[in-house]
Symmetry: C2
Subunit: 240 residues, 2 copies
């Protein structure tokens, strides 16, 4: 059986203007090669409705999978989700499950789920959510199009959760733990934890919020009991 | 008058497989922004004849300019020039001017202009050559499509020579000087030369050939007398 094929669609004016250097293409191309999906084409388009819709329709018709990055944040130029819905002619609105994730996240972190942030819960009808263990706001798969964030750490975390679902590998489970200390303070104990759980992937994603340095730790594995055990130790090392 | 528009077409399996990380897109996007050409789309396709032809035709019809990178070397999978000719329905063959550049280059460096290398002199009818001050084998412009090498140092040198022609800026003249010493040995005197000629751009491009480390120096400017003066000093500093 020939390998499944794929295209990637990178969405964002900031890439085309040269202000931001894309790194998601190189990451995804390596990951797809590793799991035996042939990446055949990449397109980069601007935050323009007609361009996004045309590219999604052209690529979704030709390849087994289309992976997108960018344009799913809270600002007015984040129009990817609406364009994907339009490309397939399905309705889109704030969906209860995505809204619930955001409500829980902002209740925990003390932020406000305002109208702008609520845009990140707009999900096309019939889509499956893609887990975002780094910053919560989910991606989604609609038919053969997989819509992910442009921020590299979030994109990478979403790809890690999504690919096993597409290739028949054991689904990866993930849990995250928020620590209000910088990565440098966390690195030592975290390294010991990783050594104690060689069967798990333990990633660290720094953030800065209101002048505070913090680190999100994401624990991934296919055995739920092992992931739980690591989370218990993590919580003991770094109490909330 | 609105800005001219552009697309870029990156050609190469090695980018899509993740083996090589493309850097030409980021370079070109910055340069186009600087000269006021709007980059609207980038596509990356594999070394596949039909894919290259289809992409060239689609992009050339929609944008003022199309810039390509990759697929113009001496090996069997370097098929870009033939695909561009086919996309526009024009003949292609080894052209005397391009062949002359390669003959002079290999006479100077002692290499052999064999059949494989002669492929790099295949130029579509009606095309204008794009100067390659780094490694000689030229790019070309056919109508609104500008065909350049994938090796980043060569791509960047070609872009530097091409853009003034497209934007009505003063055409850049360039001359190069080959030094059979590594960049580290050359850097000091070269820096003094650059200080003495602030109106010129003096670039250094390392190479390795037959186990020998060397450096190509490219001097660029819009005033021929100044470029000549710098070349005289360069030859005195690093005799052939």
């Amino acid at each position: 059986m020939p390998n499944p094929t794929a295209a990637m669609l990178v969405i964002g004016d900031e890439i085309l203007s040269g202000r931001t250097r894309d790194s998601n293409m190189h990451h995804l191309s390596g990951e797809l090669t590793r799991v035996g999906i042939d990446l055949r084409e990449v397109r980069v388009v601007s935050d323009t409705r007609d361009d996004i819709i045309a590219a999604v329709q052209a690529l979704a018709a030709r390849f087994t999978h289309v992976f997108t990055s960018g344009g799913i944040g809270p600002t007015h130029d984040d129009i990817t989700a609406d364009c994907i819905a339009a490309a397939f002619g399905v309705p889109i609105d704030v969906r209860a499950d995505a809204r619930g994730l955001l409500e829980a996240h902002y209740a925990r972190t003390g932020g406000e789920l305002n109208a702008a942030r609520l845009r990140m819960a707009r999900i096309p009808d019939g889509a499956t959510l893609i887990d975002n263990p780094v910053s919560t706001a989910p991606g989604f798969s609609l038919r053969n199009v997989h819509v992910m964030a442009g921020v590299p750490s979030v994109f990478q975390a979403m790809v890690a959760g999504l690919l096993p679902r597409l290739t028949g590998g054991a689904p990866l489970l993930s849990q995250s733990w928020r620590i209000e200390r910088g990565e440098g303070d966390v690195a030592g104990p975290l390294s010991e934890l990783a050594t104690a759980f060689p069967d798990l992937s333990i990633g660290s994603y720094p953030f800065q919020q209101n002048g505070l340095y913090g680190t999100n730790i994401v624990v991934r594995g296919s055995d739920a009991a092992r992931v739980d055990a690591a989370m218990v130790q993590l919580a003991a090392l770094f109490p909330a």
